[in-house]
Symmetry: C2
Subunit: 192 residues, 2 copies
Amino acid sequence: MARPREFDEKEALAAIRSTFWDRGYSATSVDDLVRATGLGKGSLYGAFGTKREMFVRALSEYCVAALTFAEARLHGDDAGALGRLHAYVGVMVKGIVNSKRGCLLAKAIAELAGDDPEIDRMVSGFYRRYEDVLAGVIRQSKPSRKAGDDDEAQRQASLLVAVLRGLESMGKGGVPAATLHGIAETALAALR
Amino acid sequence: MARPREFDEKEALAAIRSTFWDRGYSATSVDDLVRATGLGKGSLYGAFGTKREMFVRALSEYCVAALTFAEARLHGDDAGALGRLHAYVGVMVKGIVNSKRGCLLAKAIAELAGDDPEIDRMVSGFYRRYEDVLAGVIRQSKPSRKAGDDDEAQRQASLLVAVLRGLESMGKGGVPAATLHGIAETALAALR
């Protein structure tokens, strides 16, 4: 069979990400990635490096996409800040409830974090930026700007990150949607 | 080499659990379990069933141990309830910070939940009981028993479960200990 010399990099990356997402890192073989992308082993290695490098790239793009989504949903004027935050958390919980495969980041952490310094750096960098995005909109939502509000917003944002991560794990573990939405509401009510 | 006819079941189970814990389900081969337990393949299958059955048993015992630990730490009189809850959460966060391999349940969820109804049932059963244990001590900690306290305690307990799950994932992902302790404190302060 003739091997195509040119291929769509984005499409190949999407196939790589999707394979890791479904199967995890260890359980994915290079042959799985060859099958998923339709590329020859040589082209695959040539374009994307080792299996580990492909995973790091897929995970990195996943984190960037998650942050870009959060920023797009949360960015806006002060008056709408609390509304945007509630809407964003609602969308995230719905995503958790409807997702069959869960979150690639959560899977990567469970499987690989602690064993790989590059992945650890990526994950903790992601959490820092995610917390900052949430802290920004929480700060905007405070009706009166008083001393201590910034610290409080940062603390509340890091709590919200933990809650959202926990909801992801609980949702993947089969906890009912109503329970997850209830937890999100309790967490948001505590921001006031 | 002579194969021992008798073996310590508890020791073998501990070796099985430890292997799954380090490597995950898919990446663990039956040969790995043979090596870890020192048993022959026939004895291993004879005593514990298939690889999947060994995993389900290891995970189930892990969940029972986690609940037993929570109950032992949280059980007591009303006056000490808040103190026990704070101490328990502190111990859990320290465990997260010091653990190199993270939580077997979190790993099992990330890898297998949604694909296996038996594991899903085990996980959601665990979360329900865990929430009830936490709700019990939160209820005890309310200074005045008013109408609505029970519902509030249950809501706060399910939020706390999500926070603890999220902290586990964040800790495994390399978020600094101080951030994790801070999040736990914010969550506990919100109970009052």
